[in-house]
């Protein structure tokens, strides 16, 4: 099934691309809240895309060989797909939660919000 394979390729490649962008963002952005933005958004999206691609790969034997593959001693494609989906749902729930908690803790501890804001605000 080259269609499924090609879409898995695309999803994995796009997810990896987003992950690398997030990594560059976390190094290059100038202040803490911008870095949080880069890290948490690309974290959620990149992980979701990569895990969706893996789900497609997990279902590949089922698509290629039909339901008969469930009776062979190979690992169950449906169970594997379920585990990857569970992983994706978990990351989708916890990554924004920890990002929120992180920003809340940083704000409560007095990390300055955008130190350069005074130069741009009120000039227009």
């Amino acid at each position: 099934m080259w269609v499924l394979n090609a879409s898995c390729w695309g999803l994995l490649g796009l997810g990896t691309f987003l992950c690398v962008i997030g990594g560059i963002g976390i190094v290059r952005f100038p202040e803490f809240y911008a870095r949080t933005h880069a890290a948490s958004i690309t974290d959620t999206m990149g992980a979701g895309l990569i895990l969706t691609g893996l789900m497609g790969q997990a279902l590949l034997p089922l698509v290629e060989h039909g339901w008969a593959v469930l009776e062979t001693p190979t690992p169950n494609p449906l169970l594997l797909c379920f585990k990857v989906a569970l992983l994706g749902i978990f990351i989708l729930l916890t990554s924004p939660t920890s990002g929120h908690a992180l920003v809340k803790a940083a704000y409560a501890r007095g990390v300055a919000v955008n130190p350069q804001a005074g130069e741009h605000d009120g000039s227009h």
Binding site: I26, F32, T36, Q57, R109
Partner: protein, 102 residues
């Protein structure tokens, strides 16, 4: 299951490892403790992804269970460290209540 469409998994693994290195450099550089926690959280998520992709790459689907456990531990660790860095201890409500009783 593995390598059915070229270098798919190798590319993903390389990208994830590069991202982990970048997050680690922020964890070393980070001026505040929250930068370090952010980088650590990102590193943990990328580790989960790395384990999952490596499981497919090596054709070992049992790696998925390890990835699940690692995701749970990572989330719990991040929340615990944040709670500590915000309140100064890990059970502020309990401590306050017992202090009020005494």
């Amino acid at each position: 299951m593995s390598s059915s469409f070229g270098m798919m998994y190798e590319v993903a693994l390389a990208g994830i490892i590069v991202t982990m290195a970048l997050a680690l450099s922020r964890a070393v550089l980070g001026p505040t403790v929250f930068d370090r926690i952010l980088a650590l959280n990102m590193f943990g998520t990328k580790t989960v992804l790395l384990i999952a992709v490596a499981g497919f790459w090596m054709g070992r689907p049992d790696f998925m269970d390890l990835a699940l456990v690692y995701a749970l531990v990572n989330f719990t660790g991040t929340i615990a460290v944040l709670r500590f860095s915000r309140y100064g201890n890990l059970a502020s409500d309990t401590v306050r209540a017992s202090r009020g009783d005494a």
